[in-house]
């Protein structure tokens, strides 16, 4: 459908844009909904994983004999039970799930057991003897890039990386256009600053959990909490060297993911234990396992240089981004480098990015992966330029805002985008005019995310009683059953409560990409609308048969088939229910399908506005007021769009203020629990106000844009800018924990006194 883009004509919606009750609500408020750890099977064993205490160590040998002989133990596995797949990505995933020749980070899995009880499994883990040769380690991105750094794995460097770096640097990228040096010359003021951000974790409340069964004829069933059951099947069947059709993966309800459940950590281990023991095996990660050995974000080190004229025109921008993504190559800095200056219409811009390996867990996606850090750095420098030149930060952003026709730094020319609308809405909002008290500061930041579509497959069945069943393949992580059902109801012209949306296992539909890239409401919605259109065409054909007229002479309107005009014949409209009731008599069941590699996901922009107060004696920051402005294209269920905006904002607040991976000198994670990995709690926060803007995405029939990810991008800089203005000193390192803020304040105090 490349050249068949949708119309942007305004249309009247009946269901889309309303706020019906979500269909899975009752299950989730009564405790009936089944999540990853909630299923049991007869004869089930408990699976437990032994993890490396060392950040970097060669595994000389693993002696499992005592564990195998222990009472109640039914299987013990190590890397020796697996065969490395040919595909490099699959190999990395397997080696991350089970260490081969080396333990690459604190918490890396080295062996696993399945036993009849938790206690027996725990006892068996202690009997496994691993002979480690401890190696020098590196966890900091700048250290890892130095030529003399301990190398995580040789031979992983792409041809794009230049000379002078450690082999840990796996790839280099560069984007941009124009002559930046000429641009800086035109500037009245240029600011260059260096920034660092620590790794954060998605922090989903539900730890990874799965239940695997394996039959002797090679069929397997896997129940797990995941953002994509088809991805799990593809990866696990490759690792287990089995045919995809022989592995059925059923997604549980999912207790949060935010990108962290777009890959596997324990599923291949459970499958191998189940295969070896011949019994169902359940593995549930502890919170400490989740933090040590699932997929946090990249940490970063960045240099940003921006020039501006006295009247606020940005003349050039240059960003150098260095990300570490754990012990395997990743492609995250590319997205940061493309997103860094996306909010600006620039004549001269250059971004460079380096990905590096360290002795940390393999990074996984986290909401707009790669973008929040890069945009934090850029938006901080823009803010400082505004301060220096005495300019209003929203005016400056409006003046330089990317718009339709802007050539983005990554080469693409934008179509209709909502950035200026968000900025104008922020400017006009009462929040922006509200007075600030002493010690308080206001910060603004733009945010951007690309949004994706991808492989999608939906079936829509019209039942004989006039109800509709939508079958889709993307786990409902935040209300998508509601939004998908609403789009089906809208297209068919039936009430929302006549539609039930089911998320199904891998045997029931073709491939669906993981719930990521803010793709579900966009892509699954698109496929659902197309499937509904197919069902409508079939229902028109059935009505035509009943009326004895040509199918082309029947149209669908308000939930009914109608003759298309006076010439077509004079028949009373037939409702969906009436057509469905006689479907058996008119040719059999009525269904619509749509299968597509969806494109046309429109980019998404947002603007955040925040007020904070900094305690000058302790460096504590209190968030006083927060408003999110975001372009949703078309908000299908506004409650859940607001929910995405609020949830992303608060995750960003956590990233900005308190969340961080803390590694000790010994390379071990110091804060592997919710006590010291500090996600925001209810009492930390004010209400998060939201303003939804709707600039329709021309790539979707209803104008929908993904909304899930953009909201985590602006808070880092919005909070940093607010804190820096409140404290009177520029903060350049995240998180802005109280000791960091107080140290910055103390460093600035004698200087201020001297001036």
């Amino acid at each position: 459908m490349a050249l068949d883009k949708q119309t942007t004509a305004k249309r009247e919606f009946k269901v889309v844009g309303t706020r019906p009750l979500r269909p899975d609500g009752v299950d989730k408020v009564t405790g009936k909904a089944l999540y990853g750890a909630d299923l049991t099977a007869p004869g089930m064993l408990v699976g437990k994983i032994l993890r490396s205490p060392h950040p970097h160590a060669r595994i000389r040998s693993i002696d499992t004999s005592a564990a195998e002989a222990a009472p109640g133990v039914k299987a013990v596995i190590t890397h020796a039970d697996f065969t490395l797949p040919d595909d490099e990505d699959m190999r990395d995933i397997l080696v991350n799930c089970m260490a081969f020749n080396k333990a690459l980070y604190d918490g890396h899995a080295v062996a696993a057991v399945a036993a009849i009880s938790e206690a027996a499994a725990k006892a068996a883990l202690k009997l496994i003897k691993v002979d480690y040769e401890v190696l020098p380690h590196v966890t900091d991105v700048d250290e890892a890039m130095k030529p003399d750094a301990p190398v995580i794995e040789r031979g992983r460097q792409a041809e794009t990386v230049g000379e002078g770096f450690s082999e840990n640097v796996t790839s280099y990228c560069e984007f941009g256009h124009g002559d930046i040096e000429a641009g800086f010359t035109r500037a009245d003021h240029v600011i260059e600053r260096s920034f660092k951000t620590e790794a954060t974790h998605q922090g989903y409340i539900e730890p990874h959990a799965c239940l695997a069964t394996f039959t002797t004829d090679g069929k397997a069933d896997l129940w797990c909490c995941t953002q994509g059951q088809y991805m799990v099947r593809r990866v696990c069947s490759a690792i287990m060297d089995m045919e995809a059709s022989q592995l059925r993966v059923t997604p549980s309800e999912i207790g949060g993911g935010f990108g962290g459940k777009t890959t596997v950590f324990i599923e291949p281990v459970a499958l191998m234990l189940a295969k070896k023991s011949g019994r169902p095996v359940k593995i549930v990660m502890s919170r400490s396992d989740v933090l040590r050995a699932s997929g946090p974000t990249c940490s970063s080190s960045m240099d940003v240089r921006i020039g501006m004229t006295k009247d606020g025109r940005i003349t050039a921008g240059h960003a150098k981004l260095r990300y570490q993504g754990g012990a395997f190559p990743c492609g995250t800095v590319e997205m940061g480098a493309m997103a860094a200056f996306a909010a600006y219409d620039l004549e001269a811009v250059r971004t460079q990015g380096w990905n590096a390996m360290t002795n940390r867990p393999k990074q996984a996606a986290y909401r707009a992966p790669g973008a929040p850090m890069a945009i934090y750095a850029v938006e901080s420098v823009v803010d400082e330029l505004c301060q220096h030149l005495g300019l209003d930060p929203l005016d400056v952003r409006l003046k330089n805002a990317a718009k339709a026709g802007t050539k983005a730094s990554y080469g693409v020319t934008f179509t209709d985008i909502g950035l200026s609308a968000c900025l104008a809405a922020a400017k006009a909002h009462p929040h922006y005019a509200a007075p600030l008290g002493p010690g308080q500061g206001r910060g603004v930041s733009c945010g951007f995310w690309f949004n994706f579509g991808g492989d999608t497959c939906v079936t829509l069945n019209v039942n004989m009683d006039g109800t509709v069943s939508v079958t889709e393949g993307n786990p409902d992580i935040g209300g998508s059953r509601a939004s998908i059902g609403m789009m089906a109801a809208e297209e068919l012209g039936v009430p929302f409560d006549k539609v039930r949306t089911q998320v199904v296992d891998t045997a029931s539909l073709g491939y669906n990409e993981v719930t990521d890239g803010s793709r579900v409401t966009f892509a699954v919605g698109l496929a659902t609308i197309k499937a509904a259109q197919a069902a409508k065409a079939e229902m028109c054909r059935r009505a035509a048969m009943i009326w004895g007229i040509d199918a082309e002479a029947v149209t669908w309107e308000d939930g009914c088939a109608k003759p298309s005009g006076p010439n077509a014949g004079d028949f009373p409209p037939m409702t969906l229910a009436e057509i469905a009731a006689v479907s058996s008599q008119t040719g059999g069941p009525i269904a619509g399908h749509h299968e597509v590699n969806a494109d046309g996901a429109g980019v998404s922009f947002g603007v955040h506005l925040v007020d904070v107060e900094v305690d000058p004696e302790t460096g504590a920051t209190k968030v006083l007021r927060y408003t999110v402005f975001q372009d949703a294209g078309k908000a299908v269920h506004p409650d859940y769009v607001e929910g995405q905006m609020q949830g992303g904002a608060v995750q960003g607040i956590g990233w900005a203020l308190n969340e961080e991976y803390i590694y000790g000198e010994d390379g071990r994670l110091q804060n592997a629990g919710f006590l010291d990995y500090r996600v925001p709690v209810a009492s930390d926060l004010p209400m998060i106000d939201t303003v939804i803007l709707e600039i329709p995405n021309p790539g979707h029939p209803y104008g929908v844009r993904g909304v899930g990810e953009t909201s985590i991008v602006p808070p880092l800089a919005a909070i940093a800018n607010a804190v820096s203005r409140a404290a009177g000193v520029r903060l350049t390192e995240l998180p802005m924990s109280p000791p960091r803020i107080l140290a910055a304040l103390d460093a600035a105090r004698p200087k201020a006194a001297a001036e």
């Binding site: 609500g25 935040g478 926060l685």
Partner: protein, 158 residues
């Protein structure tokens, strides 16, 4: 380790089970009694997903030994609705879209019910501090707070 026989009351029903001496009440509820509505998010009392009441007092069931439950009264999320009738808090959570993934929801509902029984007219700040031990990663708490305030108002009217 010899197992311990525990007789206790869960949601008003007398139940008994055998447990290990070091087994938590949460594990016994989930694995012995099939009540999987209480969730384990951390196992260290930092997330509140396992909240239940023990003799009317709000606790983390991951920080209670199952053996301690002998002769006590436990209430879990499974006992909150009466038959088909949802508790007003449950209704308000759905109405206000106060859940996204829903995994923290049972614990938050149990905790909130305990709050409103103690303090039927809490301020927003009181609700936020009472719920500080119930982590929610999806919503940013906004819609949860709105749902609680609205449910409290409705319960006061009733």
């Amino acid at each position: 380790m010899s197992r311990i026989h525990v007789t206790t009351s869960v949601n008003g029903d007398e139940v008994d089970f055998l447990c290990e001496p070091d087994e938590t009440l949460l594990d016994a509820l989930r694995n012995r009694l099939g009540l999987t509505g209480s969730k384990e998010g951390c196992g260290t009392g930092d997330c509140g997903a396992c909240s239940v009441t023990l003799d009317g007092r709000l606790v983390c069931s991951c920080l209670v030994l199952a053996a301690e439950a002998e002769g006590r009264e436990i209430a879990t999320i499974e006992g909150m609705a009466e038959g088909e009738a949802l508790h007003p808090l449950q209704k308000k959570f759905i109405e206000h879209a106060a859940l996204q993934c829903g995994v923290c929801t049972p614990g938050i509902l149990v905790a909130t019910k305990a709050l409103l029984e103690k303090n039927p007219d809490p301020s927003e700040t009181e609700v936020r501090y009472w719920l500080a031990g119930n982590l929610c990663r999806c919503t940013g708490y906004d819609k949860i707070i709105r749902a609680v305030m609205d449910a409290a108002a409705e319960l006061r009217r009733a």
